[in-house]
């Protein structure tokens, strides 16, 4: 028995929604970061599913790009978080509001 492609897409959508919910609701910046990764990988899953369904390898190529960019993003993002933590001893998103108008 083969699993139909739409199931993968549904899983991807669930993962994306879960990630978005996490980013919006969690206060810890590191958890927000993890949720963000979840969203990115949900998109990756969609790419791969469509690549398989449409027989087009382009989707899989895109995933590589996303992975590379995500890795770079993690480096920069974690660097920023470490820098903030050193200065303010907190990684709670709501406390980091010095740019408040």
């Amino acid at each position: 028995m083969t699993i139909p492609g739409s199931w993968y897409l549904v899983v991807a959508a669930l993962l994306f929604g879960l990630g978005a919910f996490g980013v919006l609701t969690r206060r810890n910046v590191i958890v927000m970061f993890m949720s963000l990764e979840l969203m990115l990988n949900a998109v990756n899953l969609t790419f791969v599913s469509y690549a398989r369904m449409l027989n087009d390898v382009g989707g899989q190529v895109d995933v590589f790009f996303v992975l590379v960019v995500a890795a770079a993003e993690v480096v920069v993002g974690l660097g920023i978080i470490v820098a903030i933590f050193r200065q303010r001893a907190t990684v709670t998103a709501d406390d980091i509001s010095s740019l408040k108008g």
Partner: protein
């Protein structure tokens, strides 16, 4: 005849040299350089005069270069040599040389010594340009140049607030007149198609009387400003704040006569405008009388002489208005001699009394300053018109023509002549005779005669003031100036046929009136220093004309300015500016609430926006 170029060039050269290295030359070398430049100019003027002898009838024009052109309008830099301009450069550079020499002594020890001569040389340059210019624009350049130098020199001691504001006043009042000069130039170009004096002389007959009247009145406005006629004469009194040599050179002998010169230069047009001529004559004689009355009550020695200058300029305008151009120029030249002498004599007195100008604090100076006293008395007899001094002939010529035009003008002129002899007599008696009253000024030490660089010009000018009448004796064959200027004025010159008996009677009246004035001043002021009955407050304050201007124009102007400050500026302009700022602040205040600083709320808005856009793309745009 091209030596006329050097007349203009030498003062310019002196100006440039003094500007470049005047400070290093210092006191007194800078003064000698300045004097030398003007002396060279005077010598060139003599050369021009000698080369003119024999062909007086043909004006010579030295074309230097084109200044600017636009369409049919051409303004050349060209110098005109004819009887009038030669007479002008001779006396201008001659008197200027003497006054430069005098200034070497008078300005000794001043902290801006060299600068004084910079301005003086620039002034002589501008004045020679003005009187030799062959086009109206070039004459205007000289006209403005002398005005600017006058401003700088009046406020030469600008540390004194009165001197600074006197300079400004002279400048502003003269601007009113300059408007007339420019508008007159435009009108001349419109109707004659040219602004050169040669063409104006040739084409003036094509002008309609109305146009001629308009042109003359506009130029007379300019002349009234520069030559201190009613109602624009008040600046000349304040101009006495300048150093005394400046008063002698600019505000007595040369610059203030520029208006008279301009009118004489435009005589072909004046001859066509009889209404305007009458206006000029009436304003001239009114100025002469008003200023002479004011002079009778002044206590500041320079103010007396300044009012006297205004009065004499009024006589010159009377001559212009009655068509007696030769007489006006004759009076201008003799006046330059004796008025420069009176100013320099006053300067000599002021110099020896450490700057005191109040005649009540002088007295008995004849014992200490013999040369100054004698030369001042000679100047007094000249200006009073006592025969055979120069003023008798020059003023007599003006009055004779005034009688030919209208006996009323003549009568006003004769009364003014009586006043002239009287107020100058008052000056001489109060300053040089009577009891010494200068102790508190000099603190015990006696006044001293001025150094020889100052007394030599006095003696030379005294000789000129006494003998100046020889220039134009009213005897056949001796009217040198008259025959010299005849080709310039030609038919514009009014001719009043008179019997010899009438002429003699008029001259006799002049002589009697002059001697009567001298006698009256002797009766009233011998031994007296004050006489309230003869020194009315209204005349001391110059008929309150200046106070009237202050109240009507200056205070109205101040009130308008204050209104502009409190209402227009503070309410309207400031209101607009702060209003714009207030709107920006309001918008910003609303906008800053969006910037909460909470990352998660930003994200929520972002996601919300994304959903809306996505919804739009999927539902509306997909269709």
């Amino acid at each position: 005849m091209s030596a006329v170029g050097f007349v203009v060039l030498f003062p310019l050269l002196g100006f440039l040299i003094l500007l470049a290295i005047g400070k290093r030359l210092g006191d007194p070398k800078a003064g000698w350089i300045g004097t030398g430049a003007v002396l060279a100019s005077f010598v060139s003027a003599i050369v021009v005069w000698l080369s003119r002898l024999g062909n007086e009838g043909h004006p010579y024009v030295l074309r230097l270069f084109d200044w600017f052109s636009a369409g049919g309008f051409h303004a050349n830099v060209s110098l005109r040599v004819d009887g009038l301009s030669v007479a002008m450069i001779l006396f201008v550079t001659g008197v200027a040389t003497l006054i430069h020499l005098y200034s070497i002594g008078y300005m000794k020890g001043d902290s801006r010594y060299h600068q004084f001569f910079v301005y003086l040389n620039l002034f002589v340059f501008s004045m020679t340009v003005l009187v030799t210019a062959n086009t109206l624009p070039l004459a205007f350049l000289g006209w403005e140049g002398v005005g600017a130098c006058s401003y700088w020199l009046i406020s030469f001691w600008f540390e004194r607030p009165t001197a600074a504001s006197a300079g400004k006043k002279a400048f502003i009042v003269n601007r009113i007149g300059d408007t007339g000069f420019l508008l007159g130039t435009f009108l001349v170009f419109q109707h004659l198609g040219s602004v050169s004096f040669s063409r104006i002389t040739a084409g003036s007959l094509n002008l309609s009387p109305d146009t001629a009247t308009a042109i003359v009145l506009l130029f007379f406005l300019a002349a009234a400003g520069k030559s201190a006629q009613l109602p624009l004469f008040t600046w000349l009194l304040d101009a006495m704040e300048g150093p005394t040599p400046v008063s002698a050179l600019i505000h007595a002998a040369t610059m203030v006569t520029a208006g008279v010169y301009l009118m004489a230069r435009l005589s072909p047009i004046l001859a066509l405008a009889h209404t305007a001529d009458l206006v000029i004559a009436i304003i001239g004689v009114a100025t002469a009388f008003v200023a002479a009355m004011a002079a009778t009550a002044q206590t500041d020695i320079k103010k007396i002489v300044a009012y006297s200058t205004v009065s004499q300029l009024g006589y010159m305008m009377l001559g212009i208005g009655t068509g007696a151009y030769t007489a006006a120029i004759f009076l201008m030249i003799t006046h330059a001699f004796y008025k420069a002498l009176i100013f320099l004599g006053s300067g000599s007195v002021i110099h020896s009394l450490d700057g005191e100008q109040n005649i009540r604090k002088m007295g008995a100076l004849r014992k200490f300053m013999p040369i100054t006293t004698v030369t001042m008395i000679l100047a007094w007899l000249s200006i009073a018109g006592v025969p055979p001094f120069s003023g008798f002939f020059s003023k007599g010529a003006v009055l004779e023509n005034a009688f030919g035009d209208s006996p009323f003008l003549w009568a006003a002129g004769v009364i003014t002549a009586l006043l002239t002899a009287y107020y100058m007599g008052r000056l001489v008696y109060v300053v040089f005779y009577g009891t010494p009253r200068f102790e508190e000024v000099t603190h015990g030490h006696d006044p001293h005669e001025s150094p020889s660089v100052m007394t030599i010009p006095l003696v030379v000018l005294a000789a000129a003031a006494v003998l100046g009448g020889l220039l134009n004796l009213p005897v056949g064959g001796f009217g040198f100036l008259g025959s010299w200027l005849a080709p310039v004025f030609g038919t514009a010159q009014a001719a009043y046929p008179m019997s010899t008996g009438l002429k003699d009677a008029l001259m006799g009246t002049d002589a009697v009136v002059a001697l009567l004035g001298v006698f009256l001043s002797w009766r009233a002021w011998r031994g007296a220093s004050e006489n309230p009955a003869l020194e009315r407050k209204v005349f001391l304050n110059g008929w309150y004309i200046d106070a009237f201007y202050d109240r009507v124009f200056a205070r109205t102007g101040t009130a308008v300015a204050e209104l502009a400050d409190t209402v227009v500026d503070q309410r309207v302009v400031d209101g607009a500016v702060t209003g714009v700022a207030g709107v920006a602040r309001l918008v910003g205040g609303a906008g800053r609430k969006v910037q909460s600083g909470l990352v998660r709320s930003y994200l929520l808005i972002m996601v919300g926006g994304l959903i809306v856009m996505l919804g739009y793309v999927l539902t509306v745009a997909a269709r």
